[in-house]
Amino acid sequence: MPVRLWRAPLDTQKVKPPKAEIHILKDQCKGCGFCIHFCPKKVLEESEEINARGVHPPKIVDESKCILCSFCTSVCPDFAIFVVEKQCKEGCQT
């Protein structure tokens, strides 16, 4: 049944994917770029700034896209990035 799918599904509101809070320990980063390269949702990119180790640490492009897979944490050789679920008491807006 190859029906062309063009609409946004009507029940998108029902599913609330967890919201992420990404923490980058900038000065611990050695700029290997693994987290940027392996992120499945392309949440990170290289920043302009230079950290204590003289490299460009990653920066967050769009935190809302993060789906908390924590693969960045797994691949980071320097324990410089981790993700926690946002705890929204008053309900998270976007």
Binding site: M1, P2, V3, R4, L5, W6, R7, A8, P9, L10, D11, T12, K14, V15, P17, P18, F38, P40, K41, I67, L68, C69, F71
Partner: protein
């Protein structure tokens, strides 16, 4: 192995001819008595009779009696098409102890009386010619013995919709092993998506789900979901099938608890819900899915190329059923019969810009409606309009979207949409009685059991039926309401109606991938694109290819009841074959004359079935009769006359040509028609009573690929005005690709004619399907003009050029 077998054949040839009146079907425009008298004067004919119905019991008894009393050793019946009654009379002959290959038919109904209704003299003359041709061939007929092929007692069903499910269950219950191959992750097909069924308003999934689960648990059914048939080789009773089983990435340990889906961070539109609801990358398409095992959509999953980035589902699965290492596998099956139940696609209305589907959010299709009104759907059974999720007050249905139109979509009626709309309108009335419902239609077709009652009920409930489809839909940008503008053709006035939501009642169309199945199984399709049955009335579920049957919408659009009926019929037909355990193959295989064979190998190259192999050491060819399809293109290719085809030998066909061209050849068209498309197309012209000039004489071959250039040469050498070679459309050949040889040979013949200064218009090539009677008739009309133009001189020239062809065969 295929050396010519001269079976015992008593010296004197004694032919009995029976000219059938077929009531007035033939006698109405042919003087049957005169034809019978004429037949009696033909060589070898010892007896010629005319009677009212030769196919009746009395008619058959008479033939049997005559065979014994008059020692007939050949029988010719001049009546309807051999496609209809050849098997009947062959059996009659067999019953009387005569080999069935000693029977021949002259088609004086479909190809004579019915197409020359108003010219009794010409029709009678043509009938005489046709009888003469049949008698000439009959004198040369040889008895033949059919080889027996064992049938593997396992079946393959392609497609797991309601038709495939029913066929598989019926066969499995009979006791045969069945492989059910379904492309999607779950069986259920279209019926699983529909909310209620007409006319009884049963809940669709509630009546289907038990059947689905039966399929899942049946000891005789092996269900191959998420799989596709990629290769089919072999022939009736002995098919070798390759099925590609795509990985689910979830093992059968899955208990369908759904914990994985809950944690999956990926969201995608669910195809099952026509994209109206969401699913995750790991999902089950719907609650009742069979198999219930979840599946991972790798095009959506975050884990690619073996790198496990996200392991949430793996962690959530208690049974550890998730396996990203799964690889696609190819499964090889050996089956005896195949049932094709691949179903139909729905028409995509975005092809019609005036209805604004894809642009206006409140224009939906009937399939989307089914998911909206279904309790298991995205809105929990509330009919809401997509723009603001409100329940609409005014709703319009538009019929024949993609059906019955020569401009947009398909020409045919899709059969189910009228009743589906009536059912849908009643569903709305049931839940929200205040809703205003308009149905814009061309004709309402409520033809089935209980359909008219439902239609009346809808009218009583206040559904407003307006004849005349809207020309255009315009959206109010603020409210997203829709204006329908068109003409009410009953009242001859324009309407402009404002509604909250429009439902396009979309038609059905052939599956996009039916071409693949067609190619794999060498099937033919009608002009509409659906698969063609062997006979529209008497073999409605058989494919022309032996051992293959159709069920459901693959053959034509039909409702659930008809699909189930057809599926049971297909299962019964396949069951008959398998119960017998063996089948005889028609003795129309090639005959080789080893002494003439130069081992050039040309025949091996043209054989579509690879049934001929060249033995280089022994310098001769070897024929595998069971694999032979019987097209005869090898015989046409052989330049040394070392090959011919049983029952369609060179001598027999040349004798037919000679019979046609004996008198008045300069006014006649000699036509060679393939049995499956062109001959059937000519029959269809007859059934439809299309009138065309009476000077054409059709010689039936199994395939146009059988037509050797020497036949055409012979016709011209004997002074024929024109020759027609007609076969199936390229790509539709019943013998895979044998008609490409026809094309090549005719093109080469044209060159030869040109080189010799002959008018190449006198040789025509026609591609025609069994459904294109009109095309055949108009070709004959067109050729009539050519025949009239051909001068005496041109005919003499051709006679001279092809003089050599007059020598023996």
């Amino acid at each position: 192995m295929a050396e010519r077998k001269e079976l015992k054949n008593p010296g004197e040839i004694r032919i009995g001819v029976y000219v059938c009146h077929c009531g007035l079907n033939i006698a109405g425009s042919v003087d049957c008595e005169e034809v019978a008298k004429y037949a009696a004067t033909l060589p070898h004919v010892v007896l010629a009779k005319d009677n009212r119905y030769t196919c009746s019991d009395q008619g058959q008894e008479m033939i049997k009696k005559d065979i014994k009393e008059h020692k007939l050793n050949r029988v010719v019946v001049a009546s309807c098409s051999p496609r209809l009654h050849e098997p009947t009379f062959r059996k009659t002959c067999e019953d009387a102890g005569l080999n069935k290959y000693l029977f021949e038919m002259a088609n004086i109904r479909e190809q004579c009386s019915w197409v020359h209704l108003h010219d009794r003299r010409a029709a009678t003359e043509k009938a005489k010619d046709l009888v003469k041709m049949a008698v000439a061939k009959a004198a040369l007929l040889q008895p033949a013995e059919e080889i027996e092929v064992p049938i593997i007692q396992e079946a393959l069903v392609i497609g797991g919709g309601v038709a495939g499910i029913q066929a598989a269950l019926d066969l499995a219950d009979t006791g045969y092993n069945v492989y059910l191959v379904e492309k999607e992750p779950s069986i259920g097909g279209m019926m699983a998506r529909i909310d209620k069924t007409f006319p009884t308003m049963d809940c669709s999934i509630c009546i289907l789900a038990p059947k689905m689960s039966d399929v899942g648990h049946h000891p005789n059914i092996e269900l191959l979901s998420n799989s596709e048939v990629v290769d089919v080789k072999g022939y009736i009773g002995n098919f070798n099938v390759k099925v590609l089983k795509k990985p689910r990435y979830v093992k059968s340990e899955c208990t369908a608890c759904g914990e994985c889906s809950k944690v999956c961070p990926v969201i995608a539109p669910n195809e099952f819900d026509a994209g109206l609801a969401i699913r995750h990358a790991i999902y089950t398409p719907f609650a009742q899915a069979v198999p219930s095992t979840y599946i991972i959509d790798m095009s959506r999953c975050l884990n690619k190329d073996g790198v496990i980035v996200c392991d949430k589902c793996i962690k959530a699965c208690e049974r550890q059923a998730i396996d990203f290492e799964m690889k696609p596998e190819t499964i090889e099956l050996k089956v005896g019969t195949i049932i094709v139940a691949i179903g139909a696609d729905v028409f995509d209305p975005s092809a019609l810009p005036n209805y604004g589907y894809g642009k206006y959010s409140n224009v939906i299709t009937s399939l989307e409606f089914e998911r909206l009104i279904n309790a298991g759907g995205p809105s929990g059974g509330h009919l809401i309009r997509p723009s603001d999720m409100q329940i609409p007050q005014r709703v319009a249905f538009i019929q024949c979207v993609g059906s019955r139109s020569d401009r947009n979509g398909r020409l045919y009626c899709s059969n189910v949409c009228c009743m589906n709309t009536i059912k849908d309108s009643l569903l709305i009335k049931e839940h929200w009685p205040e809703t205003e419902i308009y149905v814009f239609y061309v004709d309402i077709r409520a033809y089935g059991k209980g359909f008219e009652d439902l239609y009346k009920r809808a009218k009583k409930e206040g559904v407003i039926f307006i004849r005349g489809l809207p020309a255009e839909i315009i959206e109010d940008r603020k409210t997203h309401n829709l204006w329908l503008i068109g003409e009410n053709t009953l009242q001859k006035e324009l309407y402009k109606i404002n509604v909250d939501m429009v439902i396009l009642s979309v038609g059905l169309e052939p599956r996009k991938d039916s071409e693949i199945i067609q190619r794999l199984l060498t099937l033919s399709r009608t002009q509409d694109g659906f698969f063609m049955e062997a006979h529209p009335k008497l073999r409605p579920v058989d494919a022309a290819t032996g051992g293959i049957f159709f069920a459901g919408c693959a053959e034509a659009p039909k409702d659930i009841k008809d699909s189930v009926t057809q599926a049971s019929a297909a299962a019964a037909r396949a069951g008959i074959l398998m119960a017998k355990g063996k089948v005889t193959v028609e003795a129309i295989t090639p005959i080789s004359y080893a002494e003439r064979c130069k081992a050039c190998g040309l025949c091996t190259k043209v054989c579509p079935y690879n049934a001929i192999t060249l033995n280089k050491e022994l310098k001769r060819i070897e024929i595998i009769e069971a694999a032979c399809g019987g097209c005869g293109t090898c015989a046409a290719e052989c330049p040394f006359d070392a090959l011919t085809q049983n029952h369609f030998t060179d001598e027999q066909i040349l004798a037919q040509i000679d019979a046609v061209t004996e008198f008045d050849a300069e006014k006649k068209i000699v036509a060679f028609c393939c049995n499956w498309c062109a001959y059937a197309g000519a029959d269809f012209a007859g059934v439809s009573r299309m009138q065309y000039p009476p000077n054409v004489r059709i010689i039936r071959t199994m395939c146009s690929g059988r037509v050797a250039p020497k036949f055409i040469e012979r016709a011209f050498a004997r002074g024929a005005a024109a020759v027609l070679v007609a076969g199936c459309h390229p790509g539709d050949c019943h013998y895979i690709n044998a008609n490409y040889q026809t094309k090549r040979r005719v093109e080469r013949f044209w060159e030869k004619m040109e080189k010799n200064g002959l008018n190449k218009e006198r040789l025509q090539l026609l591609w025609v399907t069994a459904a294109e009677g009109e095309r055949f008739a108009s070709k004959i009309q067109e050729m009539q003009a050519i025949v009239e133009k051909v001068s005496r001189e041109e005919i003499e020239n051709a006679k001279k050029v092809f003089e050599k062809a007059l020598g023996g065969s």
